[in-house]
């Protein structure tokens, strides 16, 4: 028992549309975190036909906010950085989720074994995996949930 994706996947999840503006997506992240009572770091992007087309993670948003020449900043002792987030949002105004999402997404099925899930997460450095059944998204497996599950079994 408790060895398959279907046992650890979250079936109640928020998703984003590829045409959602970035500013809107950030609000949805916040809303999802509040509702779940834990911080949501990544979401699936699903088009109007219901197909999984990508993932948007905290990492993608960080890439957008980080100025390209940040490495020089360490030497800018006299600079005021307070405007940086506002500047980044201003620049990202015309961007939508589909412009910065990751499209190379690894998926699993409800019967993928827990140890295979662990293996994929370690090898591919991903923290969440969409679960597809017959091409439809039925859930998402979070690394934290896998860990939680393993701890429970080990303790038991």
């Amino acid at each position: 028992m408790g060895l398959r994706a279907s046992d650890v996947m979250e079936t109640n999840f928020y998703t984003l549309l590829p045409q959602t503006p970035i500013a809107e997506a950030v609000k949805i992240f916040k809303q999802a975190s509040t509702e779940k009572g834990q911080i949501v770091f990544g979401m699936m992007v699903i088009d109007q036909q219901g197909n999984l087309v990508g993932m948007l993670s905290m990492y993608d948003i960080f890439l957008l906010i980080r100025p390209k020449h940040i490495h020089i900043w360490g030497e800018m002792s006299d600079i005021d950085v307070s405007g940086i987030i506002a500047q980044a949002c201003q620049r990202a105004r015309s961007l939508v989720v589909g412009d910065i999402m990751t499209t190379e997404v690894i998926t699993i099925t409800p019967d993928t074994h827990l140890l295979s899930i662990l293996d994929i997460m370690l090898k591919k450095h991903v923290r969440r995996l969409p679960v597809l059944e017959g091409g439809n998204v039925v859930g998402i497996v979070y690394m934290s949930r896998v860990f939680d599950h393993l701890l429970e079994r080990l303790a038991g």
């Binding site: 100025p67 020449h69 800018m76 620049r91 412009d99």
Partner: protein, 291 residues
């Protein structure tokens, strides 16, 4: 007879010390849409296109993608249809000065660094990264800026800028803007309102985003322009302008004379990189070496 060599502050550095190691590359079958997504996501101006053996085949730049937009190519076309190849290379042990000279003579903004043994690219050398190096040099230099120096000794924006501004009316079509960008080799144009005042900027980045979003090339420039215009005074210190560009993550500032509405030029990262000097005249002295 003594021979006078004009040296740049970058003298003595090798490509290896100045290159960026994170390469953004795509296989040749990748779509133009994916190329645009990578350019936006990783904030680069060009991508390296590779074959199945990871050997570099060509380069796709924002300019090439703008050309595809202008020509009406579908965004799902493969990148190999528009890539320019083979890429121009330099080697890790080459002097930075020689590599910059190659960039200048070939009128390109970047060189890929070749690992001969593997026949793979190991890095990229691009103008914006050179500017980062110059900034660090000036910031560390004892003779530079803030250190009891007369204002007259420091370079001002007008000494380095391109003294011309390409402007379009806000109702000009994106196709017209693209024609102008291609003809004058600018990275961005100024957009003016009906009263001839600057109201925004359309860059190649804005155009490729419009391409990806399916905006018609006949749409008016004001629908995609970025505002306000990022600008500086021509009397501003070069170092201050550089700092502004690095902070705002932009590749150029429009330059005004006295009033922000009176734009007289453009200061781009490429201009600064081509200048290849520090930000004050202390460098001029060090640059003249007598053998």
């Amino acid at each position: 007879m003594p021979v006078i060599h004009h040296q740049s502050v970058l003298k003595g550095l090798t490509v290896q010390e100045a290159m960026r190691r994170s390469l953004i590359q795509l296989p040749r079958q990748a779509s133009l849409e994916q190329a645009i997504r990578y350019l936006i996501k990783y904030k680069v101006n060009a991508l390296l296109i590779i074959n199945e053996q990871h050997e570099p085949l060509g380069v796709v730049s924002k300019t090439d993608l703008m050309g595809a937009y202008y020509a009406g190519l579908p965004v799902d076309a493969p990148v190999e249809t528009i890539m320019v190849g083979p890429p121009l290379f330099c080697h890790p042990e080459d002097s930075l000065d020689a590599a910059l000279e190659t960039m200048r003579t070939h009128r390109v903004h970047r060189l890929y660094v070749l690992n001969e043994a593997a026949q793979q690219a190991m890095g990229v050398l691009a103008y914006p990264d050179i500017v980062g190096l110059l900034y660090r040099f000036c910031n560390k230099c004892n003779r530079s800026i803030s250190k009891n120096q007369d204002l007259a000794d420091r370079f001002q924006v007008r000494e380095v800028m391109t003294p011309a501004v390409q402007a379009y009316g806000q109702d000009a079509s994106l196709a017209e803007v693209m024609e102008g960008l291609a003809a004058y080799r600018f990275g961005a144009v100024l957009i003016k309102n009906l009263r001839d005042l600057p109201v925004g900027v359309v860059s190649k980045t804005d155009l490729i985003i419009a391409y990806k979003h399916g905006v018609s090339p006949q749409a008016e420039a004001r629908t995609i322009m970025n505002s306000p215009v990022q600008s500086c005074d021509q009397e501003d210190l070069l170092l201050a302008a550089l700092q502004k560009m690095i902070f705002a993550d932009v590749h150029r500032l429009f330059v005004y004379q006295g009033q922000p509405q009176h734009l007289v030029g453009v200061l781009s990262l490429s201009d600064v990189a081509r200048f290849r000097s520090g930000s004050c005249r202390a460098c001029l002295i060090s640059r003249v070496k007598i053998d």
